[in-house]
């Protein structure tokens, strides 16, 4: 609107990246300038991103703009450019818009009080603001990039920032929340590393998949892959045809890691070790959305060639079912969490599962466009209500100085704005009319139901019930019911629980507003993606798919409210029931231990790998080095005198060297 589209498309990531680079410089001038610039950069980014929206709403189109010849290798020209289309603008708006609110919130949140009650700033805030801006910039780079390689670069920048920010408080001296580490700082650092490593596992597949796709299609560029699809599909032989689904699945490993899907979901709960603002950014605006974005970006391409490469069905099935398994599994884990941020973390994993379910279903159902729209619309919905929930939770944490919901309770009287906005977010997450979550979840239900994907629908339905229950359990335990001992202790010490300052409540109100009226955007999404190809059947019936439609699935939604919310209300708002018996049960232990998946991974991959490497060091390498030394000594003896050679050379030492050489030759020659 105000900025030409071609300029906005690259300014939108150049601004936060530049802001990140300049943060140390501003910090040298003055602390407040650094904070102010971070907020300014955030809002400029948000403005530029939002500025692209009206044009996309008016005429959804796709424009590819090349910025830089990144490299030319072996005749392969790799350009760096941006792709402006509804999907990239949507994601850039989410990252920039919500990101800017989070940066604003940080100004209030990243402070604390010393022992005398004076306001103090976190001493390492330069690092914090620098990485926050880099995070937003990397995420926007990821979504705006016009080719897979540049997307991968943004992808890794995001991963690096998450590593730095989750482990942000790496030198805190308080006792660690888990017994494996001595201090909280060590625990935080370990969590940051875990996030980086687990997502890295997915990135391995992603990079390998991208490179395979490159040699299958001949380009990294999304537009070119789509446009030249008939050519490169035609060029596939019976040998290479089978590689395409393998490459597709390898690429999907990236989203599994980044979007915390089963079996790589284990990092996300630990990512709560970072500041709550970072959690909000990871969950709502950046990072986990990257995986959904990439799948959404690739699904139309795979649909395009689906008719020629039927084996791609395995890709769509995998995406849908990974999403379904994850959605259900993490919803069960969320039921038993006591930390408010952990509940939100598991709910994020679960909601991302919904998105993958819908995106995977695009290839399975006749109403492909509905499934696709549902997935992407849920992405927007989740970004809004999850940012709201996290920031509101941050406001609570800031007030009560504890993460556990057992230390909260009855806070709604003191923290009216926080409680009200948090409830709006919760209603949206539970899928209650008329909040945005209702419309997006409803659309997923419709796509699955009308697409006759009943097993997937059943999982989605059951998960929705669990979601409604744990959401209102969380609201009840935090804001309603009796005040906890911890809160009463605080009040007894004269530290009254108080509402957050305006710099924190303004973002909450804005997000709550968006969650309330955001459902109206559903119409635009249908406009955005009407060009997406349909799945299995070409036949396409719009009649039961009008936007804002209410139908048989609405009935299911009403059931969800009844079965999910009502018991939660009775138990956690009204109180008076005692379920402590359940805590000794096997089911509780199974859920609270996260289905034991985390523990098994740690045993096998961390302990196992360390054990193996130490065994290699003490047995194999020690022997190799000793024999290497013997060779050297043997050779030295040769040079010392001919007399010695008769006995000195032809011993086991030289034998060892010969064996080494023979081993090398054998491997080279015969493999």
């Amino acid at each position: 609107m105000f900025v030409p589209l071609g300029l906005a498309a690259w300014l939108v990531f150049a601004v936060p990246l530049t802001g990140a680079a300049l943060t140390p410089v501003f910090a040298k001038v003055h602390e407040s300038l650094r904070d102010a610039m971070a907020v300014l950069v955030g809002f400029v980014t948000a403005f530029i991103a939002l500025d692209m929206v009206p044009e996309m709403l008016a005429s959804p189109s796709s424009t590819d703009i090349v910025l830089l010849r990144w490299n030319v290798v072996a005749g392969h020209v790799i350009d760096f450019g941006v792709l402006v289309d509804p999907l990239s603008v949507l994601l850039a708006t989410i990252a920039g818009g919500i990101g800017s609110l989070i940066v604003l919130f940080s100004v209030g949140y990243m402070t604390g009080y010393d022992e005398d009650g004076n306001l103090v700033k976190d001493p390492a805030l330069t690092r914090y603001y620098g990485f926050m801006q880099l995070f937003i910039g990397g995420m926007i780079l990821l979504v705006m990039a016009d080719n897979l390689l540049m997307t991968f670069i943004g992808w890794e920048v995001v991963g690096m920032c998450s590593y730095a920010l989750i482990g942000f408080w790496h030198n805190r001296a308080q006792p660690s929340p888990v017994p494996e580490y001595a201090t909280e700082g060590e625990y935080n650092a370990a969590c940051g590393m875990k996030a980086f490593m687990v997502t890295r596992v997915g990135d391995i597949g992603l990079l390998a998949g991208i490179l395979l796709l490159y040699f299958i299609t001949g380009t990294f560029n999304y537009t070119e892959i789509l446009e030249t699809a008939p050519t490169w599909v035609g060029g596939l032989t019976s040998l290479t045809l089978g590689l395409l689904p393998i490459a597709a699945l390898l690429v999907f490993a990236g989203p599994i890691g980044k979007s915390a899907q089963f079996p790589l979901h284990t990092w996300l709960p630990e990512a709560m070790a970072g500041p709550t603002t970072v959690s909000a950014l990871i969950h709502a605006a950046a990072m986990v959305k990257a995986g959904v974005y990439l799948v959404a970006r690739l699904v139309p391409i795979f649909l395009e060639v689906f008719t020629s490469v039927a084996s791609l069905m395995v890709f769509f099935q995998t995406v849908a079912w990974i999403g379904a398994i994850t959605a259900f599994m993490s919803a069960t884990m969320a039921l038993v969490q006591d930390e408010i941020k952990k509940v939100l973390a598991y709910s994020t994993i679960s909601q991302l599962g919904y998105m993958f379910m819908a995106l995977g279903a695009t290839g399975l159902v006749a109403e492909g466009v509905a499934a696709y729209t549902a997935g992407t619309f849920h992405l927007l919905a989740h970004a809004i209500f999850k940012a709201l929930l996290f920031l509101a939770a941050g406001s609570v944490l800031h007030a009560v100085q504890s993460k556990s919901m057992r230390d909260m309770g009855g806070l709604s009287r003191e923290m009216r704005v926080t409680a009200a906005t948090f409830t709006v977010g919760a209603l949206s997450l539970a899928g209650v009319f008329p909040f945005i979550g209702f419309w997006s979840k409803e659309l997923i239900f419709e796509a699955l139901w009308h697409g006759e994907q009943y097993p997937l629908f059943a999982v989605a339905f059951i998960t929705a019930i669990l979601t409604a229950f744990y959401t209102f359990r969380m609201v009840g335990m935090t804001f309603f019911g009796e005040k906890s001992q911890h809160v009463r202790d605080l009040e007894a010490h004269g530290h009254h629980v108080h509402e957050a300052p305006p710099v924190m409540t303004v973002p909450l109100v804005l997000l709550a507003l968006a969650a309330t009226v955001g459902g109206l955007f559903e119409l635009a999404f249908f406009g955005f993606f009407s060009g997406v190809r349909t799945g299995e059947a070409v036949h396409f019936d719009w009649s039961h798919l009008a936007p804002f439609s209410l139908g048989v699935t609405t009935l299911f939604t009403v059931v969800v409210w009844g079965v999910g919310i009502v018991p939660a209300y009775l138990i956690y708002f009204r109180g008076g029931y005692d379920f402590s018996r359940l805590k000794t049960g096997a089911l509780y232990r199974f859920l609270v231990n996260r289905w034991y998946i985390n523990r098994v991974y740690h045993r096998v991959f961390v302990d196992g790998y360390l054990w193996l490497s130490r065994a290699l060091r003490d047995r194999l390498e020690a022997g190799l080095l000793a024999s290497g030394e013997d060779v050297a000594r043997g050779m030295a003896r040769v040079s010392r005198g001919w007399r010695r050679t008769m006995t000195g050379v032809l011993n086991t030492n030289v034998l060892a060297m010969m064996l080494g050489i023979v081993a090398f030759l054998c491997i080279v020659l015969f493999l």
Binding site: L68, W70, V72, V73, A74, H76, I153, E156, Y163, H170, N171, A173, A182, E186, A189, A190, M193, F196, M197, R200, V201, D203, I204, L207, A208, L211, L212, Y214, F215, T237, L239, T240, L241, G242, L243, I246, L250, Y609, L612, S613, L616, R617, E621, L624, L625, S627, G628, E629, V631, A632, R633, A636, G660, I661, F664, L665, I667, V668, L669, L671
Partner: protein, 510 residues
Amino acid sequence: MQGLLDTLFFEYPMTTTLVLLLLGGLVTVVAGQRSAAAAKAVAALSLAAALTVNVLLLLNVYLAGPVSHRFPWLGPEEAPIATLGFLGDGLSVPVAVLVLALGLFSVIYSFVYMRGLNNHGLYYGLMVWFVAAMVGVLYATDLLQFFVFYEAMLVPAFALVYLYGVSEDPEVRARNALQFWVWTALGGLISLFAVFMLYGALGTLDIATLQSMRGLLQVDLARLIGLVFLLGFGIKLGLVPLHVWAPRAYGEAPIPVLVLLSGAMTKTAAYGVIRIVIPLFADVMRSLSTGLMAVSLITMFYGAALAIAQRDLKMMLAYSSISQLGYLMFGYSTMTLIGVSGAVFQLVNHGMLASLMFFCAGAVEMRTGTMEFSGLGGLGPKMPGLATAFVIGGLALSGTPPMSAFAGEWMIFAGAAERAVLAGVGQPYYLALTVLGVVATGLTAAYYLWAIRRVFYGPVPEGLESVTDAPVTVLAIVSLIVLPVVVLGIWPRLLWVVVERVLSTFPLGG
């Protein structure tokens, strides 16, 4: 005067470089007998002058193309057996700039790191000569010349490890230095043996001539000679199981010498592969491709596994270096233009990054007196500058964009992916090799991030409360290395615009 400078800098820049360094080393030794400051100054100035000449040469190569000149050396003038030739092209000059820069950095780093030297002249002179020999290798156009320099560089290297090793016990030092010398000399001799076989078969030692005659070589003989070359270079590169000399030598060498050993010297072997083996024995390499890829993978994984098992930061970096050279060889082994390009990129990257990490480790030792993980921790807030450089280096080596290593690594794996797509599902082992290759980057991330955690995060151990950030000299050096690491990562074409011209003339597929 102007004419003389033109001749020296633009007509014979490579000869000028060598003469500068050889004489510089000599003057350093002599001056060092009088004054330590003079030795330091002469060594640094001669390296700085050589670096300047080569940076200018790099610009010249970019603008005007390669520079070469040759003198007859052995045999009659009209048909010499061996010539003394120097070639500065898009491949040799960037590597020479790298080696010279590392040499200069190591010497300046030694000013603050090498305390208590009793003969400054000898130490700094040996350092300059070591660099001179490596530069000689890079510019050689003749195989005999190549190997004369290749063996000659072991003399200062051995002396540096033996005389300035970190072990207190001179016997241990002697043993480790001897082991280093015997193995690397063995590697050189094996390669030299291949040179003689090649001369016997084709009657020339000029690399360019040999390249044009490579079709004349019998297939079996070519295979044999190619293998012998690979074996020789493989020892110096430290491919597992031929790496046995490396850990002890790396452990013994003081940091500045170690930077030259790991950051620069192993690169001469890597350079030998791309300059000699790949152009001359492309068919042999191609037929051995799968096996070489397997050896490289073993090196990558073995190095990574041992790195994480080390109790000492320096040894972890040493094994990391071995693992990283496996990537390089993996790129060569794919025998696709993109894979080999990636390997050459990795050659430059590893030179920068391995040195960066060793410099950082040395600074940690300077301030804390130890490199054992058990004695370190929580240094991040105390040494913010150094921690930043170390974290950037660690992430870069793990293949994280936008740092330079990614710009090379993706090409290495692209080479494997190209083979995998060409082979299709009929030969799935290429697919497996591709994926496994990328897995190694994950293992690299594991040991670097763990090291970062143990050194820079968490509580500060007793006795380290008063640690301060690294000396300004060190911070300046690591910043100067981090700068190209980031710039080349963001825009790799800056380097590739010269290197690609040379590589595209090589007989490679893809």
